[in-house]
């Protein structure tokens, strides 16, 4: 029948194509989307007050179905559709490119649902670039946030996570002048730091993998606000399990990277010139690290060998002459000694906090599976053993270049 009648066939096809006109189920206009660019998580300060603003949107029953988790305050930066500038624009735009919304909830998703209740468009997390956790929240444990972030398919694993000293809400409200979109500046800052060698690679996916594995603990960048307008990376927040255990100084980030075996150097340090009361600024160009683990009488022991390639960047006074290889040799020996001391100090600091950010445990798991299966097996056990771990540190610092100046 219709095999032989082309016009009938066309009509049938025409009608079959009709339903396709309605389009995709998932189609959504970009203007109808509330794109969340950054999230800041704080502890809700005043309980009573926030219980009111929380609104109980996700509770079936006021008394029985309220989770026991402490309330958190989520500050979200939402891109205003059409106001995110693409490419250079002339003149100062007076309108704000982002909208800042603050909500309270028991969990992230609870807060996000409360946020949805306040925003007309559907929230979209696919462009979420950075999540800032306040120090206090991080110290209470991050596991409660990870569940939602892992489950949600929109979240990118390459988004950044950072810990802040000030309330995270301040970071959301901050308006840096280098970038027109505040949260993008914040995210770029955290991303670029690792490209500059100022921080080891750090993104949320990496944080999760490290948190899951049994022989190491995660670390995150620790941010502070300077002069109310600029953000500074002022250390590394180290965790014990999912709880933040402490923070280091910025220079110690460099030492951490040295032990972790991250080749790209970026930090400089003042080294005292032997025999004089003057200093030179020595910059680490690259490092090579060898971590060897072994069992000494059944007790774990680590040997760390770091080789630095450095360069003298600056001297503090005219009285120092850097003009023969002898003095450079002396400086490099002094540097080796000082760095070794600092490395040991850093390890001792993390041991006290039971936080193996260097991943020594992973080495033991990989190389001594029998020992691991018999004595360790869980993350908690490893953290306990890590506390009494013995270690040797050898640093070999080499200075090959002194820049363009001969003296």
């Amino acid at each position: 029948m219709w095999h032989k009648n082309p016009s009938l066939r066309l009509i049938i096809i025409f009608f079959l194509l009709f339903p396709l006109l309605s389009g995709c189920w998932d189609s959504q206009e970009i203007e109808q989307r509330a794109t969340v660019l950054a999230i800041g998580i704080d502890q809700a300060s005043n309980k009573e007050e926030h219980r009111q603003s929380e609104g109980g949107i996700t509770h079936l029953d006021k008394n029985s179905s309220e989770p026991k988790e402490e309330l958190i305050k989520v500050t979200a930066q939402i891109a205003v559709p059409g106001r995110i500038p693409l490419g250079p624009t002339q003149g100062q735009s007076s309108q704000n490119s982002v909208l800042i919304v603050q909500v309270v909830g028991h969990t992230i998703q609870d807060a996000m649902l409360n946020l949805q209740q306040q925003v007309a468009y559907e929230t979209f997390l696919g462009h979420l670039r950075i999540i800032v956790l306040n120090e206090k929240v991080a110290k209470k444990g991050t596991q409660r946030f990870n569940d939602f972030l892992r489950r949600n398919p929109q979240i990118r694993r390459t988004a950044s996570l950072a810990v802040s000293k000030e309330p995270a809400a301040d970071y959301m409200k901050l308006v840096p002048e280098l970038q027109r979109v505040p949260s993008l500046y914040l995210a770029d800052m955290v991303d670029n730091l690792s490209a500059l060698g100022r921080f080891p690679p750090s993104f949320i996916g990496l944080f999760w993998s490290i948190l899951s594995s049994k022989g190491q603990d995660p670390y995150l960048p620790f941010l502070t606000i300077k002069d109310k307008r600029s953000i500074q990376l002022s250390g590394l927040a180290y965790f014990s399990g999912d709880r933040m255990a402490g923070k280091t100084s910025p220079l110690e980030i460099g030492f951490f990277m040295a032990i972790r075996g991250i080749g790209r150097g970026g930090y400089s340090a003042f080294i005292k010139v032997p025999g004089k009361d003057e200093f030179v600024l020595v910059r680490a160009i690259s490092r090579k690290t060898k971590v060897k683990v072994n069992l000494k009488d059944g007790k774990p022991h680590v040997d760390i060998k770091v080789r630095y390639e450095s360069e003298i960047e600056e001297k503090t006074s005219k009285n120092v002459y850097i003009n023969d290889s002898n003095i450079v040799g002396k400086i490099q020996n002094e540097a080796s000694k000082e760095i070794a001391k600092s490395l040991k100090k850093l390890i001792a600091k993390t041991q006290k906090a039971e936080s193996d950010i260097f991943g020594f445990g992973e080495h033991f798991r990989a190389e001594y599976p029998k020992y691991w299966n018999k004595e360790i097996r869980t993350k908690e056990n490893w953290n306990r053993v890590y506390k009494d771990l013995t270690y040797d540190v050898h640093v070999d610092s080499r200075i090959h270049r002194v820049g363009m100046k001969a003296k």
């Binding site: 398919p153 390459t158 996916g205 899951s212 049994k214 992973e362 599976p369």
Partner: protein
């Protein structure tokens, strides 16, 4: 046979490659890690070897009966009625396999990409495409597979290569972590992912030179095995075994974590999903084709087109049976392992009987001559 023998050796191995690489790529590292912990690459390798053995048994059978498929020579070897019964089990198994592949596809699409689209729609669209493509003859079948293989292999290799930037080789050690039994279980599950290779029995009768089927099988399993092993190694090196246990589809997650250098693409899951949809289609296409063709041969029908639509509602119904995604994966793992009885043990039995018989026949003819 009514069709000319036109499939070349290269085409045959292409068919194998695109058939084997399917939905299973996504949960593959999870299955491997559940079985072997950090020994997952080893488990995967063992699974590949087992699958290769099964494939070579089938190929050997095919070469011994270059004009027939497992449905027809099965009847010759074990007798008409037992053969028919076994064929029915095989066909039913492939109906289930098609259904599970379609459902798993739908499940991934609904939970990762198109969250508003009803599951039924994604499943039925995929089945309909397979159902329509099945209506053509085996040469078209070969061309379609041939066409898609580069599009499937290329991006997967690119993703694996770029993901190694974040790799940490320490996650891959020690080589053996778990006990023997769980490793064997993992091996069987992995082997189950290679069940698409059964299609080789359908292809051999149409090959230009059936003798070369062994070569085609070798390359087919070598390339897919290599790709699977690479995926397992890359995902473990990037995530570590403990993290993989927390993710349903580690391969998808790998694509999501990987960025092309220079911020050309910040996440590769878009490319990966596009590739994966074609991979699922080719797999479904093959298992559906096998089902339809086998029914045709068993019932000695002239044309297979009508059955194609007739089977569709059954496949769809089966696909909708699992209650939720967790149950679905239980069923998939069990079906994979039990299926090995059908896809490896049954052909092995056939080959043994066949060899035994032909030897007796030869002895007999030698005795008659003397």
């Amino acid at each position: 046979m009514e069709h000319p023998r036109e499939i070349t050796t290269v085409q045959a191995s292409m068919i194998l490659i695109s058939t084997i690489i399917g939905v299973g790529v996504l949960p593959l590292p999870l299955f491997a890690v559940q079985g072997g912990g950090t020994g997952a690459p080893l488990v995967t390798f063992a699974g590949i070897i087992l699958a290769a053995i099964g494939l070579f048994i089938l190929t050997a059978l095919g070469i011994r009966h270059p004009k027939k498929t497992i449905i027809t020579y099965g009847e010759d070897i074990v007798g008409k009625w037992i053969g028919k019964m076994c064929s029915m089990i095989v066909i039913f198994f492939f109906v289930i396999l098609s259904a599970l592949a379609a459902r798993e596809f739908g499940e991934v699409v609904v939970s990762a990409v198109l969250r508003e689209t009803p599951l039924e729609v994604t499943v039925i669209v995929m089945l309909l495409i397979a159902c329509l493509s099945v209506r053509y003859n085996i040469n078209t079948f070969a061309y379609i597979h041939n066409f898609y293989v580069p599009a499937i292999l290329g991006p997967v290799l690119i993703i694996v290569a770029f993901s190694l930037k974040n790799a940490n080789p320490i996650y891959l050690r020690p080589l053996i972590e778990k006990d023997f039994i769980s490793m064997v279980k993992g091996m069987l599950t992995i082997s189950g992912l290679f069940q698409g290779s059964f299609i080789v029995t359908m292809v051999i009768p149409f090959m230009k030179n059936p003798k070369k089927a062994k070569k085609a099988s070798f390359w087919g399993i070598f390339i897919t095995g290599g790709v699977y092993l690479l995926i397992v190694i890359a995902t473990i090196a990037v995530f570590g075994t403990e993290e993989i246990k927390q993710i349903f589809w580690p391969t998808l997650e790998l694509a999501r974590t990987t960025a092309l250098p220079g911020n050309i693409l910040q996440r590769l899951d878009v490319i990966f999903l596009a590739v994966w949809v074609t991979a699922v289609f080719t797999t479904l296409f093959s298992s559906y084709y096998f089902t339809i063709y086998s029914i045709k041969q068993m019932a000695k029908l002239k044309d297979h087109r009508m059955i194609s639509f007739f089977i569709l509602p059954f496949v769809f119904f089966l696909a909708m049976l699992p209650q939720n995604i967790l149950q679905l994966y239980d069923v998939i793992q069990i079906a994979g392992r039990v299926g090995l009885l059908i896809t490896i043990l049954y052909p092995a039995m056939l080959l043994a009987i066949d060899l035994f018989r032909s030897r007796r026949r030869r002895e007999k003819s030698v005795a008659q001559e003397s």
